[in-house]
């Protein structure tokens, strides 16, 4: 594949002090970060932290009340074909009359009027993209008959086939087993590096992303901390972000974020008294 790759390290997306209020509630509060070409950025936060809202802002579907969003130097807008998007919870009925390759083809021209004509170039593009995400094997299978991980690969191919410069993915690892999640992350990392695409992937779980993540945007209560994993995932930074003490524990190359005493979040259950033996 030969994409219009930007030099690695150039910013493809800048979010600067973006705030969003939804029916009087501040959902995003002065969020600032950037995504560079060829880099993999994880957008981490629990349910309701504002991840989907932030992605909608970048897609130009959600207006901000303050701050700026710049996509390749231009303000965020709808019909922006430099962004590819994989939404969360796309449900395919088993009887959906579509093969994997049909869905990918809609990524090329799904917005156009009329019926698609058979074109060799179109088919070649689809074949190349299915190969790039490792979906050749089930290219002609019904989309509704594929496993969750296989469907994610097809959705990623759909989002990438129009050659975007930025790829946004909303919780693509939810409902995947750890092995499946790892495969998807590996595919995405390879695409980011080879094609020079800036990837922003939202997840509530940080560990599957640790091997590939260049940067992290950590969202909690609408506020964000961003930087490299080493800069952000620290006890002081996350405690300040959450507004109460949390402990960051590293164990066997993985990270645990645990609410400390007095935290309002998930507290450790009180330890049951150990019955005396003998």
């Amino acid at each position: 594949m030969t994409g219009l790759s930007a030099p690695p390290g150039d910013d493809v997306l800048r979010v600067d002090g973006a705030s969003v209020s939804l029916s009087g509630r501040l959902v995003l509060d002065r969020v600032t970060f950037r995504v560079a070409a060829g880099e993999f950025t994880g957008l981490i936060g629990s349910n309701g932290a504002g991840k989907t809202t932030l992605l909608r802002v970048i897609l130009g579907l959600q207006p901000t009340s303050a701050g700026e969003v710049s996509v390749l130097g231009a303000p965020a807008s709808r019909r922006n074909h430099v962004i590819g998007y994989v939404p969360q919870k796309v449900l395919f009925e088993p009887e959906t009359p579509m093969r994997a390759r049909d869905l990918v083809a809609l990524g090329i021209d799904g917005h156009r009027f009329g019926v698609p004509l058979r074109a060799r170039r179109r088919r070649q593009l689809v074949d190349d993209m299915l190969h790039a995400v490792g979906a050749d094997r089930f290219a002609d299978a019904r989309i509704g008959h594929l496993s969750g991980g296989e469907q994610q690969r097809v959705l990623i191919a759909h989002a990438l086939v129009s050659r975007p410069r930025i790829l946004l993915l909303d919780e693509p690892l939810a409902n995947l087993d750890p092995g499946g999640a790892q495969e998807i992350v590996t595919v995405l990392h390879r695409i980011a590096v080879h094609e020079g695409i800036g990837i922003l992937l939202s997840a509530h779980e940080i560990n599957p992303l640790l091997p590939v993540m260049d940067r992290i945007v950590y969202l909690a209560g609408g506020r964000a901390a961003s930087g490299t994993t080493a800069e952000v995932v620290r006890t002081e930074v996350l405690s300040a972000l959450y507004g109460h003490h949390v402990d960051v524990i590293r164990i066997h190359g993985r990270v645990l974020v645990v609410a400390g005493p007095g935290g309002q979040g998930e507290q450790a259950p009180p330890v049951a008294p150990v019955p005396e033996v003998g």
Binding site: L59, L61, R78, R79, N80, H81, I83, G84, Y85, P87, V90, F92, P94, E95, T96, P97, M98, R99, D102, L103, L106, G107, D109, G110, H111, R112, F113, G114, V115, P116, R137, F138, D140, A141, R142, H145, L146, L155, H158, A159
Partner: protein, 290 residues
């Protein structure tokens, strides 16, 4: 042979008109029906049948063919559902319910007026349950034009409609304007429901719309093929229903005959049930491994 096709079947003018109109309507229903099932808008389709009932009864009241009432009121109903349902969580469902109630009330009024003021006692039966054998041959061009319009709308918005039927989020991210696409689909649906009402009656028109499409979706792995299969099943069911209804005049000495709508819908339902048999479904395991 004559115990399958009773004498005079092909030479009977009403039968010829019924076969032609039935085939056109079945094909249109198939094309629109596949998207109706994919978009889970069977309930909207059913509501448009109730709107059609009111329109058909109203048309009889002013002395024109019910067909114009079926189609015209369906288009108005589709527009009303769009206006009420837009920008609301679960708005589509709510809008459908409101329009359904209003339309059924009007249908009750118009059918009452039809039977009392115009003294056409069979009109209620005709509007609700259809009477393809009584359709005048002059309506054939009108049916063809309406049908072509409905199919043309679907083909014009084919790709955005398909993408938005799979996932509204994906369609929006691709730059599809959901509302115009949805509204155009509703217009095509209204026309197709109106046409089906002419064949099997307004109440049963969803059967012709949903049945063959749902059956085809079990068997075809591509949208285009699903439409072809649904069209073939729909035409087959309609023609077989017309034949059985014609034959039923000879089944007993009183020569009463049984309604054609019953036979068409019966064949549609039997086909759907048969498609549930494991061997006819496109194999789950089979199409995974190439």
């Amino acid at each position: 042979m004559h115990w399958i096709v009773e004498p005079g079947f092909f030479s009977s003018p009403p039968v010829r008109v019924a076969l032609v109109i039935g085939a056109v309507v079945a094909v249109v229903s198939a094309v629109v029906g596949v998207f109706t099932v994919m978009r889970s808008q069977s309930f909207a389709g059913h509501t448009l049948t109730d709107v059609s009932t009111a329109g058909g009864a109203g048309a009889v009241l002013v002395g024109i063919s019910p067909l114009f009432g079926f189609v015209g009121s369906g288009l108005v109903g589709a527009g009303a559902m769009d206006v009420i349902g837009v920008q609301r969580a679960r708005g589509r469902d709510l809008a459908t319910g409101i329009v359904l109630g209003a339309a059924t009330g009007l249908a009750a009024l118009f059918l009452y007026l039809d039977t009392t003021t115009r003294a056409t006692t069979g009109v209620t039966q005709q509007i609700l349950f259809g009477s393809i054998f009584t359709v005048d041959s002059s309506l054939i061009p009108v049916v063809v034009v309406f049908g072509a319009l409905s199919v043309a709308i679907i083909l014009a918005v084919y790709r955005p409609l398909l993408l938005s039927s799979i996932s509204a989020d994906m369609a929006v991210a691709r730059g599809v304007a959901l509302r115009p696409v949805g509204l155009l689909f509703m217009a095509a649906l209204a026309v197709s429901v109106g046409l089906a009402a002419l064949v099997v009656g307004s109440i049963l028109s969803t059967a012709l719309l949903i049945g063959p499409a749902a059956t085809a979706l079990r068997m075809a792995a591509r949208v285009g093929w699903a439409m072809v299969v649904a069209g073939a099943l729909g035409v087959g069911a309609t023609w077989l229903g017309i034949l059985l209804s014609y034959d039923s005049f000879y089944w007993d000495a009183s020569h009463q005959g049984l309604p054609v709508s019953f036979f068409i819908v019966a064949v549609v339902v039997v086909l759907y049930l048969l498609s549930g048999l494991p061997r006819l479904r496109s194999g789950r395991a089979g199409d995974r491994v190439r």
